[in-house]
Symmetry: C2
Subunit: 692 residues, 2 copies
């Protein structure tokens, strides 16, 4: 029955008969007009894709002729393109495809067809999938992997291919040109011949959409998979094993992108196990891939359980290695120095590595921002990081400019986002989480686009003319006023609301691990757990105050930042409120810029977060006439659950910290509706996180 | 160890060293002055109690002589008393004791020593304990029974006696003169020789405090305990068995008060099992007890699973029997026609039985008002019922006057309250639930005292000069302004807040039975459950409206009320909002007196309830300086939990009813923070309630 039913289901999807279940993402079907496409060749699969997209999506004047022109042009960088009166011009076939999608996007979002050049900020725009060979997804909240199956079935079905194609098309539409197909906590299995067969099948489906396949590799694969006695990167047998493996991969996937490596981190093996440096390890793999044109993305996410300040360690380990990496190595650095928190200052490695290619890693999946339950539009978080000025090469040395080749020479540039995609019908588990996939692609293409523009683009493509609503009868002005504007505002405020109700004023890492980092856990510290995995390590709450002292008289993490930031962060009077408790341990009655005590300010922030979510609920409720019943109801329920979660966060943190502050909760704050005892009891006996 | 430790603990208690754990109730120790007591005799245990209380509690001028005078006086009713310059005068020893407690109460609460007469409204002022021989308490939220033990141990310990004495003293201090020692769902065991031995022990401890012992009896005891073939009340063998049993009881307890009977109700056996009437059954037992001076309290709480309106049945069954009961039978009628809901109109039996003694039954234990978690001061509920005008003998025929002998001749009058007492240190599980025990006693003594006065009396005795606070340094004016006034207001508003967040506008019986009637369950209707035990039977929510139609065109329950009430209730324009959905099934857009739709009004009531609890929290937080740390913290946590419960009620009911109303929740209402799905899922698979 199953095999008989599937083709029918997918036929429905192809004809646009599918309900508004979110599966079509921002590429929902719409009325089109005929277009003539002139392409330079008919043999290219990529150009065929471009042509098909134009024909299936054209909304311009009927009978227009669009010419696709492949032509070298010094002004066009990487896969950039030019739009002109004739159509699209580019240096690469990918560039043509991206130009076509830009044309269609402008039509769909009601923008004038602009002539001009569009170059990507980054050469490589990558999704990192934390997908395991058993089909599970680490920090995945949208169902199992789209690439791997629980039963380790490696046979490729037509359903697999359809899904991969839809996935590749979505990526192409926003300029994403690479996918790391498996978890950074990598299984050695991925490099086995059997799994490489499936990698080839995936790569074959992604290729016509310009998406390259990459793999995460386990550094000890030569031992675990190859049967060698060592994985020492300087050992000739090890090098030989990797060379053979690379050759095997490139035979299957000629345009294979390269390796992503998490080494010597959180129990993962690495070169340090053999007395070698990160440079020794990365360079060995880089040398192996070099003849094939492959890249090594080497993660800087390293810290030891014994160090006094986890936030300092990546900097301490990697800065001394600056200049020692091959030019096809890129150091992949998380946006902040700890771990994808709702808010962190930028990682001090940005701009500090001056002779090494560095790429930002963002987390699209909402590990610390409400999973697929809470609404968190993340573009503002990423924009905040990318536009942060490091001052490392003078004012204006933003994180974006320090990583895209503008400030330092980089043979390659890239941006990575940890994907939020899974087998759920709507791909991301949460309809609005699709906006984060979209925004990541758009920002990787152009790190200067504003979050608001991205949100509007996405909302228009994702919700305009939703089935069952009175659109398109509704006027555009009405839709803009009653849906687009308020919902854009909701999206733009959503991340700050989460910061407020979970970790305001620079607090960080105070979630419980019991519920997979969803809820609060300032108390969370199971016996024997390494301290730097527990919230008390980060909040340092005591009767004398709260916050992590990272000033010059503390851990001195401030000194990893270039002046004037080091001095600014070091002084509580000049440190931005948003980072205050990140850098300072301050007494509860510390007088804030507002004139309030730190305790009152903290309580008001928590309460404001709660009230914000309630406003989001009202905004969404009022948007009901403009949304299909299916997505309206799902989102309404998710916002309700988020509203409850916000209160749990507020109550848990205020009641926990109040034990130390011994100050009353201000009367303006909504009184707790949970007891600390019940909240801790609900945070069931913690199990230690996955160990290597 | 245990037996060694106990006497020490109780010594501490005796000396007033006990912390503010609530065990001393409203009888907390305080500084006293010497007093000389002149008593008419030294051989009376009751007078000895009175003398001891005066000596242990006197706060008047040092060296005063108080004379206790036993003297017949036609103006003194029952156990009433006169206070005069010399002391206390009464017709009975109990009257002396009550006068002494009144003297001491006036001293403690700062009232002038008033001369004058004080007569009780009711002759018998009774607590009904729903305690089972296995130590459990039906609808008890304060631990196991103080009378019976889980292991059926019938041996009486000195700890038992101390506790019973403390219990008796508390009752005496507020005029309660009888206790039914076991559950109305009675075990036949209670009449066995073994259990009667313990009944005697209890009665012996209660007697010096003027508290008589009563028992609930199972109507089929002659079969279950006596081994007879029948319990037919007209069967001579049955009558003989009861006569023998009565004799046995009175040999052990010469002042035994009588029987409480729940017959032919909710599966309990009764005279109807043998084709006899309630009158046949009650009169047989009344005849048996008459020679000993005992009473029969026969409950009118009867309803069949098949009737169309449970609210009408007690009236239908008992009104035809009016005048057929012996004069030592009292029909015990719950305040409302259904079952102790947060709000009901008064039972139409009040005033309708004109030739039969009737007594009101109130529920002190908070079965439907938040157990021992939520704060519900119940005096306003009881006051509302007692002051309701039945019009049955013209205007002014209040429930109080129809039951205390003022309107109809009654050989005996009584009021019963289902006790909230258990083994918990503070007796009632919730510090403020003590106020309900207190208020019940005070209202049974004088049904005209205002709820506010009772609250103030109780607060003064219970919280003034709390340990660890800055009292008595604080001025009385300050204490009144910062503690007494706001906390009295809190208490007075507490029951209406519960009505608002659980069952406003006349809704009733829409709680879930899964959590023992604590939380909401408008959906609660397990397969096979008798309809009149499920909320949909009561709320009748549908797309066409909500509410139980009890008008003349509906079940016609309105006609059980005397005019002008019948007409007033029958017309939605004149029916008070508070009873609207009790009597009417109305469309969701019905226009209320406020001009709002029924749906909006309902939603605003639910929200108001939630906001009220948050105000209670703020009031309590601000009262912190005036409360000992122990009771402050416990209450603060309970209010937090109540606050969460209020939101659960609001969300559950609004989301459930919204399925039918299909109207938006008004923007002024706090948006839900739970989903209906989660709320129903949390209401775990219901188990059928206890069956006979």
């Amino acid at each position: 029955m199953k095999t008989l039913l599937l083709p029918i289901l997918f036929l429905g999807a192809t004809l646009g008969l599918r309900a508004e279940d979110g599966h079509r993402l921002w590429l929902r079907p719409h009325a089109t007009t005929p277009v003539t496409v002139v392409a330079p060749t008919t043999s290219s699969a990529l150009l065929a894709t471009a042509k098909r997209e134009l024909q299936q999506g054209w909304q311009g004047s009927a009978g227009t002729t669009v010419t696709l022109t492949l032509k070298k042009d010094k002004a066009i960088k990487y896969d950039g393109f030019r739009l002109n009166a004739q159509g699209v011009q580019a240096s690469t076939e990918r560039g043509i495809l991206y130009g076509v999608f830009e044309l269609l996007r402008r039509q769909q979002t009601g923008q004038a067809p602009a002539a001009g050049l569009s170059n990507p900020s980054y050469e490589h725009r990558l999704l990192n999938h934390w997908d395991n060979p058993d089909g599970s997804v680490e920090r995945g909240y949208a169902g199992p992997s789209i690439f791997w199956r629980k039963d380790s079935a490696l046979v490729v079905t037509s359903r697999d291919k359809t899904l991969w194609q839809e996935y590749a098309r979505a990526n192409a539409s926003i300029g994403i040109n690479g996918s790391v197909l498996n978890n950074v906590n990598a299984s050695p299995l991925i490099l086995s011949a059997e799994y490489l067969g499936r990698v080839k099948a995936i790569a074959d489906v992604l290729r016509p959409y310009g998406v390259k396949a990459y793999l995460s590799v386990k550094f000890s694969s030569p031992v675990l998979l190859g049967g060698l006695k060592t994985a020492d990167p300087l050992d000739p047998a090890v090098i030989k094993w990797w060379r053979g493996k690379a050759k095997e991969i490139y035979q299957q996937v000629p345009d294979f992108g390269g390796f992503l490596v998490k080494a010597s981190s959180e129990g993962q093996p690495g070169p340090q196990d053999y007395g070698r440096t990160h440079a020794d390890g990365a360079n060995m793999l880089a040398d192996v891939l070099k003849p094939h044109g492959g890249l090594v993305m080497w993660r800087a996410f390293v810290y030891s359980p014994s160090d006094k300040d986890r936030a300092k360690q990546a900097y301490n380990e990697f800065v001394p290695l600056d200049g020692k990496f091959r030019d096809n190595v890129i150091i992949q650095v998380k946006n902040g120095p700890v771990d994808f928190q709702p808010r962190e200052p930028f990682s001090p490695l940005f701009g500090a590595l001056k002779k090494t290619a560095v790429m930002p890693e963002f987390q699209i999946t909402q590990e610390y921002l409400g999973h697929a339950i809470d609404l968190a539009y993340l573009a503002p978080l990423w924009e905040e990081c990318l536009q942060s000025d490091t001052y490392q090469a003078g004012p204006g040395s933003t994180v974006a400019r320090c990583t895209d080749g503008s400030v330092y020479r980089q043979a390659h540039s890239a941006m990575a986002g940890v994907s939020n995609v899974g087998l759920d019908t709507n791909w991301t588990g949460h309809d609005f989480a699709q906006a984060n996939w979209y925004a990541f692609g758009r920002l990787a293409w152009n790190s200067n686009i504003k979050s608001a523009q991205i949100a509007e683009e996405w909302l228009k493509q994702t919700f305009q003319n939703a089935a069952g609503t009175n659109q398109p009868a509704t006027s555009a002005a009405d839709w803009n006023a009653k849906f687009l504007t308020p919902v854009t505002q909701l999206m733009l405020a959503s991340r700050e609301a989460i910061v407020d109700y979970s970790m305001p004023l620079g607090l960080h890492h105070i979630m419980s691990a019991t519920h997979g980092h969803y809820g609060p856990g300032p108390w969370w510290a199971p016996p024997g757990m390494r301290a730097d995995w527990t919230p008390p390590y980060y909040h340092q709450a005591a009767t004398n105050g709260v916050g992590f002292g990272r000033t010059k008289t503390g851990s001195d993490a401030v000194s990893q930042y270039h002046e004037p930031l080091a001095s600014q962060f070091n002084n509580p009077a000049t440190c931005p409120d948003a980072y205050l408790l990140w850098f300072h341990h301050l007494p509860w009655d510390f007088k804030m810029k507002s004139g309030r005590t730190l305790w009152d300010e903290l309580a008001l922030h928590y309460d404001h977060g709660v009230q914000q979510v309630r406003q989001f609920q009202r905004t969404w409720d009022q948007a009901q006439p403009y949304v299909d019943a299916e997505r309206f109801g799902v989102m309404q329920n998710k916002l309700r659950t988020q509203s409850g979660n916000a209160v749990v966060w507020k109550d848990a943190c205020l009641l926990y910290f109040q034990q130390f502050s011994r100050m009353p909760i201000p009367a303006a704050v909504e009184p707790p509706m949970h007891t600390l005892e019940a909240l801790i009891a609900n945070d069931t006996p913690p199990r230690p996180p996955r160990q290597p």
